[in-house]
Symmetry: C2
Subunit: 191 residues, 2 copies
């Protein structure tokens, strides 16, 4: 929990009452590798702040193939925001790729922080802007880069994640098969 507090404090003066509020609505929970925190088709009420370990969110298509939307490590949030925002059942699954510690919030309760402590509004607005920008970039990359280029970029952007992830997790994030990724790795090794 200190991690989250610290992170917020880098960009916002956090009143003691707000800090207390955060504590009051959160729970720190340890999960082991493979545990599923959100399952496709179920109600989504929670959102998670990762303090250690590595998680991912992914969907499963009609052919049973998985497609990774997000990897989350230290200091990232993860949930199924599509479901939360639209008040629908989960289309995503969120699972632990390693033993992980997360701080769990009820998403609606957490949202209440904006009315209780309005200074969070602009903090959150900035977070969302940042997120929008990174998604814009990801879409443009997907449109213009080859699989190899996308993999190179991935390694730059997530230098640590490879330690935690299986090859097919990365492949499903890049939009290719694990076999293709394997071939790309071989080519890269040759150089």
């Amino acid at each position: 929990m200190e991690d989250l507090i610290k992170k917020i404090k880098t960009r916002l003066h956090l009143r003691p009452e707000a800090e207390e509020f955060l504590y009051s609505i959160s729970k720190e929970i340890k999960h082991s590798k493979g545990e599923v925190l959100i399952r496709e088709g179920q109600m989504v009420k929670k959102t998670f702040f990762v303090t250690s370990g590595c998680l991912r969110s992914f969907c499963i298509d009609n052919n049973g193939k998985e497609h990774t939307l997000l990897f989350a490590i230290n200091d990232w949030w993860i949930s199924d925001y599509i479901a939360i925002h639209n008040n629908e059942l989960a289309t995503l699954t969120v699972e632990c790729l390693t033993d992980s510690t997360v701080i769990e919030f009820n998403a609606k309760e957490l949202d209440g922080i904006h009315t209780r402590f309005p200074e969070f509004e602009s903090y959150q607005r900035l977070n969302l802007e940042r997120h929008v920008v990174s998604l814009h970039k990801r879409i443009l990359n997907q449109l213009q880069l080859s699989a190899t280029e996308r993999y190179d970029l991935f390694l730059k952007q997530y230098p640590d994640i490879e330690r935690h992830t299986r090859n097919y997790h990365i492949a499903s994030f890049l939009g290719i098969t694990q076999e293709s990724l394997s071939r790309i790795r071989v080519e890269k090794a040759k150089k």
Copy 2:
């Protein structure tokens, strides 16, 4: 301008002073087809609310190919938010696909609305959340759907846009070539 005011009012009580502020920092401008409102490599200061016509934002890759990030018609905002948020030069180009009317804002001035009229904070937060969700969906679609499926979905989501756009605009949005799109259209017509 009334369009924007009306749009805001559907989700926010708009104080007269706020409405006045919006008027004071905006300019309604007509542009003709082909005009470029933001050009790659230049400073980005403006953001645009579209009241009529159709615009798009796109980037150009190393091979000179265009990749469309967004089409904007009635009641949409368009700009290069990557550049604005990071305070960088534009990587995107924004052009009019038809004669268009936009309301032009200085992005920083418009941002000031949040400090002057704090009720805009949560309004904008919701807008951004909605935007994030739609980008999540677009990424998942790009990962799991074939070109034909993506085109079908595009036609559903933007039923009117085809009247304004060239085939290669749509192709560059879907991440395929115009020739491929042409073949997909032929196949669809057969059925």
